[in-house]
Amino acid sequence: MTGPVLEVSGLRVEIPVTDTLLRPVRGIDLVVQPGETVAIVGESGCGKSLTALAIMGLLPRNALLTADRIALAGESLAGISQRRWRQLRGNRIAMIFQDPMTALDPCYRIGDQMAEVLRQHRHVSRAAARERSLELLRKVGIPSPEERLGQYPHQLSGGLRQRVMIAMALLCEPELIIADEPTTALDVTIQAQILRLLRDIQRDTGVGLVLITHDLGVVAGMADRIVVMYGGEAVEVGDCDTVLGTALHPYTEGLMRSIPVPGETRQGEMLGFIPGVVPRQSGERTNCGFLQRCPYAMPACGEAPVPLRDAGDGHMIRCLLSSDGGGRDPEAWTRQPEDAS
């Protein structure tokens, strides 16, 4: 396949509420190549889940979606009919959700749910659907798959359920998989297994993967490219190693500092944190979105919205600070915040 699996530019989501207009997503660009993993990283409330839902066409009815371009393997998704959406979803673009317990229907067996998806998109017999389901359950590493097919979701452990969800996503050989916090609801030990599974599958099938998470630890070793989101915007975009190695945006830097590093972080040392909370997203921007929580804030940051600029080799940041890291006060993070909103 040539060309990117997913092209998104200028994605905006607006939600009218009683007296105002919320803007949870303010212009996101995303490009995913076949076989590539792009991670969208950010705290809850930054708009990453809504971005995923927008790409799938699953936004709530009152939400307004605008974009310069959304295309799946070259086919534009703008204004397509509901019927076309149903043909695409679960078929060429699949989504894996955060909590596999609630994502699967507790009233039906695993086998029935998988067969239902497969037979919705392919004309196969029941027996063939069962075969294919078994094949995929094996592929995702589920032991005694025949038994699992006849079980109900609550009879499986969390890790197994997530594997089932991944299997279901793979049923129709999609070109793109969006995984929204796939490991957040799981035990730490299981998390690593699931991530490894996703990586292996990607290598096997060449599927494009959008990995949404708030956990930078998940990203390292998984993603090829990272999009750091804050306040509905991308604040830092780039190659995974580059971004993690030289976090240029203060927010990314803050995220990095809050991860304990084995061997480096000393016992009893306070983990860094980013003071403040994610503000509500309404109204047009008049300044830098991160201003209130940024330890390096300068007067210029409050004057106008900050554009995304290239800091070299496709590493984009949305910040007025110079890209060589100079001019940053090393004590900035440990100083008391001016006001905790």
Binding site: V17, T18, T20, L22, S44, G47
Partner: protein, 298 residues
């Protein structure tokens, strides 16, 4: 995802009953239902003044006169006369009295029984709860109309007995709702803290719990008021409710039933009155439910 807007701030500074009152006054259903209800109540209260004739006075020369909007209607009898020449408007007004009176007294009785049982079950839980639940189940298993009929038929029908029977039968919803309302309160911190400072049980019950369950209580009371009025109408329709010479809308419908084919207005007049009353009560009840529910309802 971003947080959603919460409702306007000023309301949080007023007491809950004030808030409820303010919201009630803004609620369309409340006004619509309230006005209709008020009119009916006023008509009932002033029935003696408003009735052109004695509702029980028979006039065999003036039987079956149609209402004033029909061909042979007359303003002497604006709503016509029945099979015994009695004035329909007068009977309608006096019937309102009966319906409202029976409704209110039965709700008083059933409300008291149900609230006592429900609060006890919700507050003490455990065995008390089990017993109350069992009583509710027994009550629900008994067919209400049949039981009422049997008692009234076998003992004899006086107004007092009617009120007692209906009152003793319709307490189940009160008990259920009050129980759950009390349960929700009893686990809250201010109850447990009241206990820790040594407040006696009656004190807690009266000062902490009762004031806070009046919201659901009023809502249930409105539902059961409508229920009681309908039950009385059904019993009177079957002849075992209010007895002549007293007037009841149900009785009027029963007496008019033979006239279904040729004089349907005789059934419609008390029928519409009954429906209007119940409808108004339901409107007010719905409005009250809406205003006493805290924000965040679907």
């Amino acid at each position: 995802m971003s947080s959603m807007v919460t409702s306007s701030a000023p309301e949080t500074s007023m007491s809950p009953s004030r808030v409820a009152l303010r919201r009630a006054l803004r609620n369309g259903s409340f006004w619509a239902g309230g006005i209709i209800l008020a009119l009916i109540v006023l008509a009932a209260i002033f029935a003696p003044l408003l009735s052109p004739h004695d509702p029980a006075a028979q006039n065999l020369d003036a039987r079956f006169i149609p209402p004033v909007w029909s061909d042979n209607g007359t303003w002497t009898h604006p709503l016509g006369t029945d099979n015994l020449g009695r004035d329909y408007l007068s009977r309608l007004l006096y019937g309102a009295r009966i319906s409202l009176m029976i409704g209110m007294f039965t709700v008083l009785i059933s409300g008291t029984i149900g609230t006592v049982l429900g609060v006890a079950a919700g507050y003490w839980g455990g065995r008390v709860d089990l017993v109350v639940n069992f009583l509710i189940t027994i009550r629900l298993t008994l067919p209400v109309v049949l039981v009422a009929l049997v008692v009234v038929a076998l003992i004899g029908s006086s107004l007092t007995l009617l009120v007692l029977v209906i009152g003793l039968l319709l307490w189940d919803r009160f008990a259920i709702v009050m129980r759950s309302a009390t349960q929700q309160l009893a686990t809250r911190e201010y109850i447990t803290s009241a206990r820790t400072i040594g407040s006696s049980t009656p004190r807690i019950l009266f000062r902490e719990i009762l004031p806070n369950i009046t919201g659901p209580l009023i809502v249930v009371a409105s539902i059961e008021l409508a229920h009681a009025i309908l039950l009385e109408a059904a019993l009177s329709f079957l002849g075992l409710g209010v007895q002549p010479p007293r007037v009841s809308w149900g009785l009027m419908v029963a007496e008019a039933k033979p006239q279904l084919m040729f004089r349907p207005w005789m059934i419609m007049v008390p029928g519409v009155a009954l429906m209007l009353l119940v409808f108004a009560i339901n409107l007010v009840g719905d409005a009250l439910r809406d205003v006493t529910t805290p924000e965040g309802r679907a």
